[in-house]
Amino acid sequence: MSDNSELSFMLTGEAAGAREPTAEMPEAWPADEVATQGAKAGDEALYLELDGWEGPLDLLLDLARRQKVDLRSISILALVDQYLSYIERAQDLRLELAADYLVMAAWLAYLKSAMLLPKDEQEDPSPEELALRLQLRLQRLGAMREAAARLMGRDRIGRDIFVRGAPEGLRTDRKTIWKSDTYSIIQAYGQVKARTAPRIYHVSDRPVMTLDSALDRVSAMLGVTLEWMEIRDFLPRHAEPELRKSALASSFVAALELARLGRAEIAQEAAFSPLRIRRLKEGAA
């Protein structure tokens, strides 16, 4: 938050003295170093490093601690005064302050004025409630800060306590047991043999009637008579079934073609009833 590290300045005449080191921190926090130097410099001068505070609440907690009483019995009014005077001095020195320090200052100024008002003129929420909330927050932050210090002060692995320096390590080797059976082998061999055996392919010569020959045949037969003829009459008699099938298909297509050319007409009484064809006389259509 307050990461403007150039915010290091000196305040004089601060009777409250230097900032106390926060609890008994075993760790050296770089952020605290400037404040510690301030303490060495004496009570007259205080180096205030805003970067040393983790936000306004942190600064407030620090100020509250200087009252040297339990956080439950701090004087909020005194605390507010201290905070405001810090901020004022900082502003006198024309230091840029992080916005949240100023927001906190404004809020505390409001709180202070509310607390100074006679009780019956107090607005809701009452300043006592607001002050109590602030106090509760400071207590919680203070509690966590102490807890952190106690945690860090514990015997720690790698510093005070050591685990085995050269453990052999536990290893679990996965061993695969392969499983198969005789039938699988025989079957696989059969499949290999079957797959790779030479194969002979036969291409059978199937009897067909091409469209061209059907066309010739149908138009030739239509030339004989003007009567209706059923399509099966056009098929070669005595032909084997496969050829008849092919002839039927080709003859039907030939009939359609002749109808399209205006040389024949096609009729059918109903679905699946015999298909009949007859020649159209020239110019009759």
Binding site: D58, W107, R133, A147, G158, R159, G169, L170
Partner: protein, 217 residues
């Protein structure tokens, strides 16, 4: 098992002893039982307790940390063993505080951490703690915004020599004093009325801990 280390330890004890000595990391009862060929867990637990008392007087102790067991040097010998080059990660003050807040309040969201510290938490701070293996993401809280929540890890307990979170220094006192309860809750307890919610609104910095009151887990 008597305290007499000369008395012959049984096979289970010896097996556990060897396994934990050789292991590169702490092992839970399940892992030990599995490693010893599916030993009954009750037997493993009994043997661990027996071993613990065998080692209690020695220079090496058998300890339980977050349900996992390992051997470590006795704390009173720290002065002999402390290494010159620090192997322990140095934490920034922000990181220490965040770690403490996660440990004492877990599971806890970032907003809850920030509300206690009164300052925003840089992403780097949580990263450092996660990289150290001391805190971890532990899902999301099922409240609007579904914030990510954090908890500590078994490695955290291990590093700081804690058997469980109940061992956290001052945990009982903090809890008894209500210092782990959110401000709103503590406030209502003190005031004894419920219309105080309005008080925290709009004013700003003293604003409440986030919506969920169960931060103490």
């Amino acid at each position: 098992m008597s305290e007499d280390t000369q008395s012959a330890p049984d096979d289970i004890e010896r097996g556990i002893e060897a396994t934990l000595f050789a292991s590169e990391e702490p092992l839970g009862v399940d892992a030990i039982a599995a490693h010893l060929g599916g030993l009954e867990k009750g037997l493993v637990r009994d043997a661990l307790i027996a071993l613990q008392s065998v080692y209690a007087a020695r220079g090496v102790h058998l300890v339980e940390r977050g349900k996992r067991w390992h051997f470590e040097t006795a704390p009173d010998l720290a002065h002999l063993l402390r290494r010159e080059k620090e192997q322990v990660r140095r934490l920034s003050r922000a990181a220490t505080e965040v770690l403490a807040i996660v440990a004492y309040h877990e599971p806890v969201s970032r907003a809850e951490i920030e509300s206690i510290r009164g300052v925003q938490t840089s992403a780097g701070t949580l990263d450092v703690l996660m990289e150290a293996g001391w805190i971890k993401l532990a899902g999301r809280r099922e409240v609007p915004g579904r914030p990510v929540i954090y908890t500590t890890t078994p490695e955290f307990l291990d590093h700081f020599g804690l058997t469980s979170r109940r061992d956290l220094p001052g945990m009982d006192e903090l809890r008894a004093a209500g210092l782990l309860d959110p401000v709103d809750e503590a406030f209502e307890d003190l005031i004894g009325n419920s219309d105080c919610e309005a008080a925290s609104e709009g004013t700003d910095n003293t604003s409440e801990m986030t919506d969920d009151a169960d931060a103490t887990g």
